[in-house]
């Protein structure tokens, strides 16, 4: 799931480092450049988690605000992107938990993809997505944070290990646990195929 275009060049690293240092010292223009670079990543993570663009933008704003405040303490030992992913994953899982009890109809308001003609399919798919998000929100925190990086951040096992600063085996174990619980909680939604093929 790791995307090749995410690999930064050496020059890109140096430039990003400069932007980070300047942002840490209060240069908002430098921070604007950082936001431009990573806006899409954070919005995508938040949107996959929440399913609404306006909510995703609110959470993305929260993420960048936290990052800006924390930048003076940031050390370059860890790639900025990993750190950003972690902050974003924490923010979206917090947001998911905050709105979990609310049965929102807003999530149904996503613009349907043009290739889908059957409104029932669209509604069913959005129901499924909503159920998945709510099930993830209900997980214990160490499972939730790990699966959020995979499902919302589209990170590979190795990237999750680096982002959370834990061994690869721990990631495997947490994803195992998280997906077992998700299967239990999603119940029939993940048994459909079996029922159909049985």
């Amino acid at each position: 799931m790791a995307r090749a275009d995410d690999a930064p060049s050496i020059e890109g690293d140096a430039e990003e480092r400069r932007l980070i240092d300047r942002s840490a010292a209060g240069d908002q223009e430098a921070f604007r450049q950082l936001v431009i670079r990573h806006h899409r990543l954070v919005i995508n993570v938040a949107f996959r988690a929440l399913g609404e663009l306006s909510l995703a933008e609110d959470v993305a704003q929260e993420v960048f605000l936290k990052v800006y405040k924390a930048l003076p303490g940031y050390r370059h030992e860890k790639p900025f992107k990993h750190w950003l992913h972690r902050v974003a994953a924490n923010a979206v899982t917090d947001a998911l938990r905050r709105r979990r009890p609310i049965v929102s109809l807003d999530a149904m308001e996503q613009p349907p993809a043009s290739r889908e003609s059957d409104p029932m399919d669209v509604a069913t798919r959005h129901d499924l997505q909503k159920a998945v998000r709510q099930a993830i929100a209900s997980l214990p925190s160490h499972y939730r944070d790990t699966i959020a990086l995979q499902a919302f951040g589209e990170l590979s096992y190795e990237e999750i290990a680096k982002t959370l600063d834990v061994p690869l085996g721990t990631v495997m174990s947490r994803l195992n646990g998280a997906k077992r619980l998700l299967r239990e909680r999603l119940g029939d939604l993940v048994h459909g195929e079996e029922a159909n093929t049985a």
Binding site: E15, I36, R48, Q61, V132, R133, F152, K179, E194
Partner: protein
């Protein structure tokens, strides 16, 4: 032979493509004869399908997002001075006049040598900002170099006082000043003056590093910032020597009215940073 329990444990990494080829073969072999694991694998794959089909966000513009974000960003002090034109100049004059009394009073107490751990340090910084803003463009480089030297003096003192965070803060402020001054430094008409300035800054950076290294709490972050600052000075010096005119001091008081174009290569080993950064939309 793979046990049923082990096979079950491996189904999720198997479905995620995380197993090595020989491990995959062992799971394949087990699944062939185990209906329970085959059914569980189908469920795992279906769950994965649900997880990966969460859609990415529709296109959204970063400009309004930034404006909303900027409105809530806390103000941190920065030495970046905007170009003063039109109303900004009037606004600045008004602001300066408004705080003149306060500033004058505070100046009496804020010694120019106040360090970052001094309560009056912020007054000193404010005075520096105003001073720099009011300095004519031609003299700005001189003031910037003075301020850069002052940040390094502070960093050295903070490192000596076991206050590495404050030392880092001063080093970052130094970086911004030098960054802003880099263009002027590279295009300075008197290369020797630039060399002297760079030499002086290098010596001060060395003093900060020495102070940091002699403390028990030798801080890696301070070391990194100093190393990055030295690299930046090297870059400025290289580019300055590559583009500097070959003037002899005292030879030429005024520009030659009929300059002779000398075909001279202008080597550029690396592309210069003109501030127009590429956008990366992760």
């Amino acid at each position: 032979m793979l046990s049923h329990a082990t096979a079950r444990d491996w189904l999720i990494p198997y479905a995620d493509g995380m197993l090595a080829a020989d491990e995959r073969r062992r799971i394949d072999g087990h699944i062939t004869g185990c209906r329970a694991c085959a059914a569980e694998l189908r469920e795992v794959r279906e769950l994965n399908l649900l997880l990966v089909t969460l859609p990415p966000a529709p296109a959204s513009s970063v400009a309004p997002f930034w404006l909303r974000l900027q409105a809530v960003l806390p103000q941190r002090r920065t030495l970046r001075i905007p170009t003063f034109i039109g109303y900004r100049r009037v606004g600045l004059a008004f602001a300066v006049a408004s705080v003149a009394v306060l500033s004058a009073a505070a100046s009496a107490f804020a010694a120019p040598s106040a360090l970052p751990d001094n309560p009056l340090y912020s007054v000193k910084l404010f005075e520096e900002d105003v001073h720099l803003a009011l300095t004519p463009v031609n003299d700005r480089l001189t003031v910037q170099l003075q301020l850069a030297g002052e940040r390094l003096r502070e960093a050295q003192a903070m490192a000596a006082n076991h206050k590495p965070r404050l030392a880092e803060s001063s080093l970052r402020a130094y970086t911004i000043i030098v960054d802003d001054a880099a263009v002027s430094l590279k295009s300075r008409a008197t290369p020797q003056a630039t060399k002297d300035a760079l030499h002086s800054l290098r010596a001060k950076l060395g003093a900060v590093e020495h102070e940091n290294a002699t403390r028990d709490d030798d801080v890696a972050a301070v070391k990194q910032l100093v190393a990055a600052a030295v690299d930046e000075l090297d870059r400025i010096e290289q580019q300055e020597s590559a583009t500097a005119p070959t003037l002899t001091v005292g030879e030429q008081a005024a520009p030659d009215p009929t300059p002779v174009v000398t075909p001279k290569p202008t080597p550029r080993a690396t592309p210069t940073d003109d501030g127009d950064h590429h956008e990366h939309h992760g």
